[in-house]
Amino acid sequence: MLEIHNLHVSVDNKPVLNGVSLTIQPGEVHALMGPNGSGKSTLSNVILGHPKYEVTQGDIKLNGKSILKMAPHERALAGLFLAFQSPHEVTGITLEEFLLAAYRAKQKRLHPDKPPVLVFRFKKMLTELMAKLHMDEKFASRYLNHGFSGGEKKKCEVLQMAILEPCMAILDETDSGLDVDALKSVCDGIKSVRKTATHPMGILVVTHFTRILKYLKPDHVHVMKGGKILKSGGPSFAKELEKNGYENI
């Protein structure tokens, strides 16, 4: 369970979040909507502990424990995952190397006594997952996100999610820049990861548009504006928003 309580955040002493509260139960899908600059991406990054942001008030708890003092990698190991809005291109590190390091870190946390996974076993697992997501396995030996198209980058984020099986995934505008087919295939990937995960996976879908919500059906929909959640509702609230926009909230 992820609990965000009265969260205030600043960047360079400028407030960007002004008291956000949000609770996501295991296995629930929440949609966080709102116009540009409303603080959605900030919230996503703050949850993972991006060093740029300063939490000035409030708390974030994962399964009852505050994570504010935890380093980003500790938060990841505790089960949080962020699919980035614009995944970075990192030269010199192959996707496979990167995922192996991440997977081994995770396994080490879960089973400290077990030896690290063998490279060939990991490769087999990776190849299978990539096939499932309709990704060319050649991408594994390419530098992380290097020269990937927008859609491929987003798919690559889902692949990472599939490998790490988080208990809470934040999808920061995973739908942006995708055409209809790519969106469907990415969402199919997310659904399949959720289905095969050994535990109920909570999801926070951060988006401008409702089209991704046709695939990832939210249990709750929230609207954010000016660094605050202004209104929340059930699944039908998204349709209402699509019709009337954010103006009148």
């Binding site: 991006h50 990841a76 995952f81 010199g92 390091a101 870190a105 995770k106 790490l164």
Partner: protein, 476 residues
């Protein structure tokens, strides 16, 4: 620091390598016999000790004259603290002309040093020949019999002066003349030991040959001379490794490498230099490449207080080609002033220079390069790429390329990037559960990997481990 897990599982001779491995010094009581400072008498004494022919003594004395006349370089890092009176220019730990015939005969005190460094036992299996030098003299050289039968010569240059005087005389100081600069002159006067490699016409040596140079005593100067002759159509790969312990007082390394690459020949020279941080490493390396010849330089510079090193290719023959790959790491108190020089003389010559540098803890990395396209060099192509990664706010990186074009048909490209460890890149890796230090090491390794992977495996592992050691606890 945690090692990137993908790499830590390898078992290598360098697995237990640490700073102590290099900084450790063995007893050097033999040093009592040798005096500091440079005089004409010392130059004569060195030549006499080696029982050299008259022509070599003359070359030494001529070099000494140049040394007295030529001023210190007026550019580059500050060398004012270097005191020639405090350096021991010649010392022998063992009195054995031409080195020992087998590794077993090498005295334990010397053997220990090399064995601690993993040489030559661990590498013998994959190398065609091995050489080792301790202080001023070569102690050991070996070469596979098959290669000896084909006419390949791989020995101590002191030995070659006696056994192959025509070859040595024809090539010695021809690529790097002693009046080239102050340290080339100094080198010419006091050079001792080093490697002579001769690969005759058409012989292709597939396995690499290696020499390891070690300075052990305090205030030592090492001036080994590497003379390499690759005849027409021949091929080879030679590797040099260097280290010295740390004393907190200056040491000087002014080696010289001269390479001739014949018509259609191909040669690769790789080196990893890891001198201690009180060493001035002022090295001269140059190759002359004939028609259709190919020269490749691969270098890693980790150690030294001040390094000035600019391997040079003279593309003399038409269609000749040079590749320069280099990586330099400047840590606290270090200046790595490195680069490349290429002279295009022949038609349709091409060169490619890729240099990477890391600066950390206040260290300074400088890329200093020179590409010259001569009037005669029709259709020359040259490409330079230098990338700098700066690991903290107090470190410095600088790029100083010089390009001179005297022929309008040339095609030139120069690209330079300088960046700091990117917060967003780090956060990306961390957000997947990878600890910050490991994420930093992965990014740094990724940055240098295109160069390091060109090094022989052991050196690549050594290089990676050294860089991790250098970075330990000092980043972030």
């Amino acid at each position: 620091m945690q090692k990137p897990s993908a790499k830590s599982s390898a078992t290598t001779p360098f697995e237990n390598l640490n700073r102590e491995t290099f900084d450790h010094h063995d007893p050097s009581s033999y040093m009592k016999k040798f005096r500091k400072g440079l005089t004409r008498e010392l130059v004569e004494a060195i030549s006499k000790d080696k029982d050299e022919p008259e022509w070599m003594l003359e070359l030494r004395l001529k070099s000494y004259e140049h040394f007295l006349k030529i001023p210190m370089p007026a550019w580059g890092p500050d060398l004012s603290a270097l005191d020639f009176d405090e350096i021991c220019f010649f010392a022998k730990a063992a009195d054995k002309k031409g080195g020992y015939q087998s590794w077993a005969e090498v005295p334990d005190s010397i053997k220990n040093t090399f064995e601690r460094l993993g040489i030559p036992e661990a590498e013998r299996s994959m190398l065609a020949g091995v050489g080792a030098q301790y202080e001023s003299e070569s102690i050991y050289h070996s070469l596979e019999k098959e290669l000896t039968d084909q006419g390949v010569i791989f020995c101590d240059l002191d030995v070659a002066v006696h056994d192959h005087p025509e070859l040595v005389r024809k090539h010695f100081q021809k690529t790097v003349p002693p009046n080239d600069h102050k340290f080339a002159a100094l080198h010419g006067a006091v050079w001792s030991g080093g490697t002579f490699l001769y690969i005759p016409k058409g012989v292709k040596v597939k396995k690499p040959l290696q020499s390891y140079f070690r300075m052990n005593a305090k205030n030592m100067g090492q001036f080994e001379h590497t003379l390499i002759i690759i005849e027409d159509g021949a091929e080879g790969h030679y590797i040099e490794g260097c280290s010295a312990p740390k004393y907190g007082s200056q040491a000087l390394h002014a080696g010289c490498v001269e390479i001739t690459v014949g018509v259609g020949a191909k040669f690769r020279y790789s080196s990893v230099e890891n001198w201690s941080k009180d060493t001035y490493n002022l090295n001269t390396k140059r190759a002359i490449i004939e028609r259709d010849g190919v020269m490749e330089w691969v270098g890693g510079n980790m150690g030294s207080g001040v390094t000035m090193l600019y391997p040079c290719s003279v593309l003399k023959g038409d269609h000749s080609k040079a590749d320069h790959l280099g990586i330099a790491f400047a840590n606290a108190g270090q200046i790595q002033d490195t680069g490349s020089k290429v002279f295009h003389l022949g038609k349709n010559t091409s060169s490619s220079i890729v240099m990477k540098s890391l600066s950390n803890g206040g260290g300074k990395s400088v890329y200093r390069g020179q590409v010259h396209i001569a009037k005669t060099a029709e259709n020359a192509i040259s490409k330079t790429q230098c990338d700098a990664l700066i690991l903290d706010p107090i470190s410095i990186s600088d790029t100083m390329p010089t390009i001179k074009v005297d022929n309008p048909t040339a095609t030139l490209a120069h690209e330079a990037t300088a960046g700091r460890l990117n917060e967003e890149d780090l956060f990306y890796l961390e957000s997947r559960g990878i600890a910050k230090e490991q994420a930093e090491a992965m990014i740094v390794n990724g940055f240098i990997n295109p160069i390091v992977r060109e090094l022989p495996l052991e050196y690549a592992v050594e290089m990676n481990r050294l860089i991790e050691m250098e970075m330990e606890g000092s980043v972030g």
